[in-house]
Subunit: 524 residues, 2 copies
């Protein structure tokens, strides 16, 4: 496939006129061809207009048609072959194995959504049957289904160039729900974005869908992004990125004449609590595992373990020594962008210079550009409780251990913490009582709670919650990973006494789609 | 029971210190005893503090315990007996039969939520079983349930002194979901509010629940309301009221350091489209039915039919003549408050004075205070399309007929309309094709679509949607009536590899609550 540097608006390739952008290979600093021609508000307008035109047609398609579309996208992505992996490697500095895994996840995710909407078990229509004889008043026939919200804006994330970018989780769930999608490609990987965008565009044609079902725009800074969120045809937004960027877009979504849902996944520290018994039994092993999770993908995961919490003890010292040893053998890795690298350098330097912080260990250095040297710090609970600087995410392979004097200080630390994507407990049987005490606190702080594991690695399945209370996300009622993600883009509509011939299939008397429905409150 | 004029904060009665308020009998202008002592931000602080203290205990109760609590509230409300009806009549001017019906609905609603959380069919936990042998990586054990958000603020509505006030739909659904509730009672019916509040307070004690599960505050203007929405312990808001008041509170909810969900039900015109065939077959009958719906409860329903849309024809003239006749026999009714009455007078006078509006008919006049004289106006489609003044709600028994030249004008009118709670079609077989064309438009405009009925009368059931796109509500993804209302107050949490002994009952291996669960994507 040929990279053109164009925007993809409906079925067309459009050369933007608002300046150009080149991808940079973060491992070498090299500028990658071609030039990407950036879009303007007029391009956004065109994409949104086509999306709106496509919406009623697309939402009226059967689950089978939408499932086939998602599967076609997956096949088309696979068909790009190595070109996609190589371009993504060049644009992100991520290794081949990681990107191959991410491609598998991306395609698997599309297929899981396809299977899910066809099974129809998760979007149960509700039917309350007519009660003509009821006193004092008869009851009407009432049937509820959920319909898609409308065109959705998706912002590609830097750290998952495939799985949370052009054909990533937000796009897959919005398309599965029946919403056309306008993607703003991330400027760090425009070529990867264009390749995937081209095969989605192809799939739209292959499946005979209206062209506006998908568009891909690029744009500098927040101009195009802000125009997209503000556009009256856009009815919801999926965003994964920085807290500042996400909050700015959220404000736009809230302040529109018609406010719309904004699903932003912003930042998290992902606390890991090491309970005393677990440290006694397996401090050294936990130290090695921790460094494995910390340094995976240069720490550039939303669920990177950025905070450890434990009671001071000889076993904790053993854990620290083990982690320090593992770190010393931990090679520096290329970060995704120069911007992420400099933010990492700045945030770790700030923490390192904090009077209450000790540097416990660091990874191997490198002279290569944009490389991430892992860092492990410690502080004490009182310092953490009183210093909000220590609550800020260091995006990369850096983590802060909070040494507590006792269980009470652990409770204080956890209660003081902001909302998180994940919270993890390491414990053994002797820790069960304290673990039980901690669970209700963690439930209120995080979207996912793990036992004796590490938060990196987010399974795409039905039960996953990749979400959590503010500021982990802007809407704790949702998940951006897993099949429940499609609920973000639906709203209920009730049909009262509508005759069968006008009802959508999922609500018709004969149940032609043969799906489960909640009839008079019972699932049948 | 004795009315005290106090706030109910947890288990205590507290005399507010921020001025006093008397209820006014709108039918007589008479001031009703006792004086209500208004609260301050300090009282809000105290109520929220108790709610937060109660939250973890209350949310850990079983569905059976919460169901018993809801049923106890219903029994206690019934036990107040005629005192409640008489006080509500005096405070609202609503007739006895309406208030007895509303009491039945209020108690029925509490019992329906009780039954719903015990059945557990609507909050299906999700379980993805461990796959230890999966390649390349094993899958962890992943289990998702939804937990309550936290303390909820509820704003009593003026127009449903029982069913959407202290123990109304928002309170019932939040309590059912496991959220403590702090109600701001509506200043138009403080005595009704206190009576119901006292028996909820009683039920909290009878059921052995922590006192903070329920509080009731009164406050002048927006001071207490704004403090409540801004309070950091409050995690969601339920509001039914005016567009201006709702938007002001929504902005506070959005601009908190931690933004929270704001469920506001604001305003609607509830368009009713009369298709040509239906007019030919039953114009006269439709005219009478329309006036019945329009004047019910002095038109003070969120779902009052404020807009009619039809193609000009002799049958439409027959409809108008029939409606006019019915209106001429339609007695003026007391409105809820002097404020609502003067807003009604103002908005109808404004429409009546519009150059493009004709007064088709008016109801009987009355010299009684605050009485609502029904009004029926007409205009043409072009005037409606170009004049946003004609899109504003006239809260009361007033409606505007939009005369269209053809089907195309009907389409334009509907497409131009803002979001609505309901949209209604009257049609017969000969209209089916056009009805089919209209449905996709109406689905995007309204939360509930009715065939051959009238939108007043909102069934409390599983399939109901009392909601809709902005500005009908602030969040189209939800309903404030019906059992789906409790989903507003829940968020998902995923448990990864948590041992059975630490899991909540609904996720345990043995399924001790015997509820349906989505296991590996299949409901079993």
């Amino acid at each position: 496939m040929k990279l053109t540097g164009n925007l993809l608006i409906g079925s067309r390739q459009v050369a933007g006129t608002s300046g150009t952008l080149y991808a940079i290979n973060p491992a070498t600093g090299e500028q990658l061809e071609p030039a990407y021609h950036l879009g303007s508000a007029a391009d956004v307008e065109q994409a949104c207009h086509l999306a709106e035109q496509a919406f009623d047609i697309y939402r009226a398609t059967s689950p089978a048609v939408r499932a086939n579309f998602l599967e076609t996208i997956a096949r088309n992505i696979e068909a790009i072959g190595d070109q996609l992996i190589e371009r993504a490697m060049a644009e992100t500095g991520l290794p081949r194995a990681r990107l191959e895994g991410e491609r598998a996840r991306t395609c698997g995710q599309l297929r899981l959504f396809a299977a899910t909407i066809q099974a129809g078990e998760q979007n149960m229509p509700r039917i309350d049957l007519r009660m003509p004889e009821r006193k004092p008043l008869p009851r009407a026939d009432l049937r509820q289904r959920r319909i898609p919200l409308g065109p959705v804006a998706v912002f590609g994330a830097s750290n998952f160039p495939l799985a949370f970018s052009v054909a990533g989780g937000d796009t897959a769930s919005a398309l599965a729900a029946g919403c056309p999608v306008v993607v703003k490609g991330h400027s760090a990987h425009p070529g990867t974005s264009e390749l995937v965008g081209q095969v989605i565009q192809l799939a739209v044609g292959q499946c005979g869908l209206p062209e506006g079902v998908f568009s891909l725009v690029f744009g500098a800074g927040s101009d195009v992004g802000a125009a997209l969120v503000a556009h009256p045809f856009i009815q919801a937004v999926g965003f994964t990125g920085s807290r500042n960027g996400g909050v700015a877009l959220m404000r736009i979504a809230q302040q529109r004449p018609q406010p719309i849902p904004f699903y932003g996944e912003l930042s998290a520290l992902n606390p890991v609590v090491l309970l005393p018994g677990a440290l006694i039994e397996k401090a050294a092993e936990l130290g090695r595992q921790f460094v494995g999770s910390l340094t995976m993908g240069a720490g550039q995961f939303c669920t990177n373990p950025g905070l450890l919490v434990a009671i001071d003890s000889p076993s904790l010292d053993l854990f620290v020594a083990s982690a320090k040893n593992a770190l010393q053998e931990s090679a520096a890795q290329t970060m995704l962008t120069p911007g992420i690298h400099s933010a990492y350098a700045k945030s770790t330097a700030q923490v390192a210079s904090n009077n209450n912080v000790e540097v416990l260990g660091i990874g191997l250095d490198s002279t290569a550009p944009n490389s991430c040297r892992a860092a492990f710090f410690s502080t004490n609970a009182q310092a953490f409780l009183s210093d909000s600087n220590l609550h800020e995410e260091m995006f990369g392979s850096a983590s802060l251990l909070i040494r507590c004097r006792d269980e009470n200080e652990i409770l204080q630390v956890l209660q003081k913490m902001e909302g998180q994507l994940t919270a993890t407990l390491h414990f053994v049987n002797s820790d069960l009582d304290f673990a039980r005490t901690l669970l209700p606190i963690l439930e209120r702080k995080a979207g996912r709670i793990l036992a004796n594991g590490w938060p990196t690695g987010v399974e795409v399945c039905h039960a996953m919650v990749h979400g959590g209370p503010w500021p982990a996300t802007t809407d704790s009622r949702s998940t951006s990973v897993g099949t429940a993600a499609l609920e973000r883009f639906l709203r209920p509509v009730c049909y009262q006494d509508i005759p069968d011939e006008l009802l959508p299939p999922e609500l018709q008397a004969e149940n032609p789609l043969a799906i489960k429905r909640l009839v008079d409150g019972r699932g049948i």
